[in-house]
Amino acid sequence: MSLKKTIRKGVNIRLAGIPAETVTDAPKASCYSVQPPDFNGLTPKMIVREGDSVEAGSSLFYDKNQPTVHYSSPISGTVSAIVRGAKRRILSVEITPTGTESYKDFSVSDLKTIEKETLLATILEVGLFPLFRQRPYDVVANPSDSPRSIHISGFDSSPLAATTSVALEGRMKDFQNGIDALSILSGSGGVHVGTESGDVTFADVKGCTITEFKGPHPAGNVGVQIHHTEPVNKGEVVWTIGYQDVANLGAFLSTGKYIPTRVVACGGSECAQPAHVRTLAGASIKSIVNVPSTASNGDSVRIISGSVLTGDRVADNGFLGAYHTAVALLAEGTDPKFLLTSGWLGLGLSRFSLSKAFPTWLMPKSKTWDLDTNMGGEERAFVVSGEYEKVFPFDIYPVHLLKAILVNDIDSMEKLGIYEVAPEDFALCEYGCTSKIEAQKIIREGLDSLRVELS
């Protein structure tokens, strides 16, 4: 008997190009990449150089501030490029696979007898540790912390997301193995899995607390699930990890091979065949999905690694982000919109809006929407009140928290509950904002400045 929670605030945005519930194996990519900017809080120190050959699971770099945390290659091959940006910041470490796959050999002991320290050391060495993120701050976890609990969201409620039952098909033994390992790492709070109401994928999973969540996006955000089960208080640390990564951890602990499998949902209005694809973390976008040269509206195509609400814009020679399990193709919206036809005074039949000033709310819920990347207006000061609260299922006042961050008032940020949130929790607020405020960016900056201030 699992716990049940209902999330009332939020909204599901049904974008056109929903991925079919089928999964195919992607061809081996010509290039893979590990991108340090994907990991919040990381300052990379290189271990390998260009031209070195690596095995799957070999360390590429480690974190300067937490030297035990290693980041490793998803595949065997040669380090073909270390791409640097402004101020010589490392943007990407690219690996070109060569010949047959070889895996770095790790000895793993039986989970029933393993000590916590040994298990943690193994996870750090193989480079699986960066998959743990922590609340507060939404950064890569610190291995010297002992987390109160570990939370896993068993579903992604964002638009065009992967379906859990498809992504974990045939992997439930690995997942159970992963949960067993997590319960060794976790503190007194244990391991929590949040599942989608009606989903039976996790029905037989043991050794964790399962909570069923019913309601619209962001019910699948792990932050929302933590808030509605055991909220994070000041001074507490909670770790989170993606459900696919739990399975990868479990698989590693039974085979000793590092294979960071990702089942990626490819979708969006410009995606010819929206479906799930099985590949490895860091694979090139080209190997995952065919990108058309022009969008259906004549504009160019936006490639998004991750969710359309939170992901990264990538070039067509880009890579799948470290934590991402979706790739979306949308049309850009660089065409100005005439006021009466599709602009601010138009009927707006084709715009999905959280505001009742558009006729969205009168249309059937099953309708899918073909949205482009246009801002839909200009940036303004906060004017309208109460619109964030409709899609923000936390006992937190979102606008007041944002304003506290904008004036860098650390004390107010703490009091207003910044420890519980991550930028992704504000994605829907940002979507529906009348004043076009970059809420996720502000939250990220607030978390970063708080972390610097308190470290």
Partner: protein, 403 residues
């Protein structure tokens, strides 16, 4: 619409930094963004965005004001002809009399207000914010019919500069801009703002002997204010105006065929606007509902006290006279100056309605209590929000103590 965009794009270079007309960039930019939502695309965060923007939001408020504007225009004519005893004036004649009054008012308000906004936007180097589009429509509607245009111009300038721009423009102001303009007139020109200004040309009609016998041109609030401090029995003739077929009967007050500020008289027209604002979610139903509740509650309390004739007025009648309904629907709900928390909105609205009726009855020197009450609650709104937030903070700290 490609050709229109081509024309705009072709003249754009003249307005950019190096162009000859660069000082008029703000004017150009506001016209350009008015006709075409720019082709800006998302850079980070959410890659898709809602179509709602401030232009659409503000436009819907203006739409909500249209019934009150149209009725107010007609009512100016209706009241005028009634005051000189003409009973056979047709709709067109009434509308014409009204339009001659209302159109210059609107032009002066927008001219002065937008002119100042353009200057400030130019100085600060940002585009025009849409806030004044609504303020500029609200101000004419809360003016007495016979207000001199130069006074309106002065009031608008004061409201926009001192009420809004010194705080940083739209979104930053503390008190409602339109009410600031009204309050400015009330305090700066008290003599001109009272007495015979509620009906078109009433002063000259009186001088010319055209005025119907016994017609004072006073508003409902003016009549009621005269009852304060008098014995209830002596005030029977005044209170009779509010009964059955009196001039200010419930029926007339709801339809709006009474003298008063241009847009405030018709509860029916205002209700149409309220329906639009609530249906589109632009106006806060929380504020409107609690404001109404506050007004009715105070009216009921006065009924129980019954110390003078004003207090004996039915609560429902209290809230349909004066600017109560207009203030409730269009002024109290201004999202910038109201409370921003949902809990705070209930408190803010209730106290606003409560104080409106209280000020009106207790202090006949301020017949229009709604204006005072809302301005006062605007100032109090951050305090209400502060306590609502504090409750949230305390909840979080209590949770911390429990572990």
């Amino acid at each position: 619409m490609k050709f229109l965009h081509k024309i705009i794009s072709s003249v754009k270079p003249h307005f950019e930094k190096e162009g000859k007309l660069s000082r008029f960039w703000v004017v150009f930019d506001s016209l350009e963004t008015f006709t075409f939502t720019p082709g800006h695309v998302t850079k980070q965060g959410s890659h898709i965005r809602d179509g709602i923007d401030l232009k659409r939001t503000m436009f819907l408020v203006i739409m909500a004001l249209v019934p009150a504007l149209l009725f107010g225009t007609w009512n100016i004519g209706d009241q005028y002809f009634a005051s000189i005893g003409t009973t056979d004036a047709d709709m067109l004649a009434k509308l014409t009399v009204g339009a001659v009054r209302v159109i210059p008012l609107i032009l002066v308000t927008y001219g002065v207000g937008l002119g100042i906004e353009f200057v400030f936007a130019g100085l600060r180097g940002h585009g025009i914010n849409e806030g004044f589009l609504v303020s500029g429509m609200l101000i004419p509607l809360i003016m007495p019919v016979d207000v001199p245009l130069w006074m309106v111009a002065a009031a608008v300038a004061f409201a926009v500069i001192i009420g809004k721009e010194v705080f940083g423009g739209t979104g930053m102001n503390i008190v409602n801009v339109a009410l600031t303009a009204r309050a400015f007139l009330f305090f700066a020109y008290p003599k001109q703002m009272s007495g015979e200004i509620w009906i078109q040309d009433i002063a000259s009609s009186k001088a010319g002997g055209l005025l119907v016998d016994g017609h004072t041109g006073a508003t409902a609030l003016g009549h009621l204010a005269s009852t304060v401090g008098e014995k209830i029995v002596d005030m029977k003739p005044v209170m009779a105006l509010f009964e059955g077929d009196g001039m200010f009967s419930l029926h007339n007050c709801i339809i709006g065929t009474i003298p008063g500020s241009i847009g405030e008289t018709s509860v029916l027209a205002i209700a149409l606007g309220a329906v639009l604002l609530i249906a589109t979610g632009i106006g806060s139903w929380r504020i409107m509902a609690s404001f109404l509740a506050g007004g009715l509650f105070m009216g009921l309390l006065f009924n129980l006290m019954g110390m003078n004739a004003y207090m004996t007025l039915d609560p429902v009648h209290q809230v349909v006279i004066g600017g109560f309904m207009f203030g409730m629907v269009f002024m109290a709900t201004d999202p910038v100056t109201a409370t921003s928390t949902n809990t705070g909105k209930y408190i803010y609205g209730f106290l606003g309605g409560f104080l409106s009726i209280m000020i009106r009855v207790f202090n006949p020197a301020y017949p229009e209590g709604v204006m005072m009450a809302i301005l006062f609650m605007n100032v109090m709104a951050p305090l209400i929000d502060h306590y609502v937030l504090q409750a949230n903070i305390n909840r979080r700290q209590k949770r911390l103590q429990n572990i």
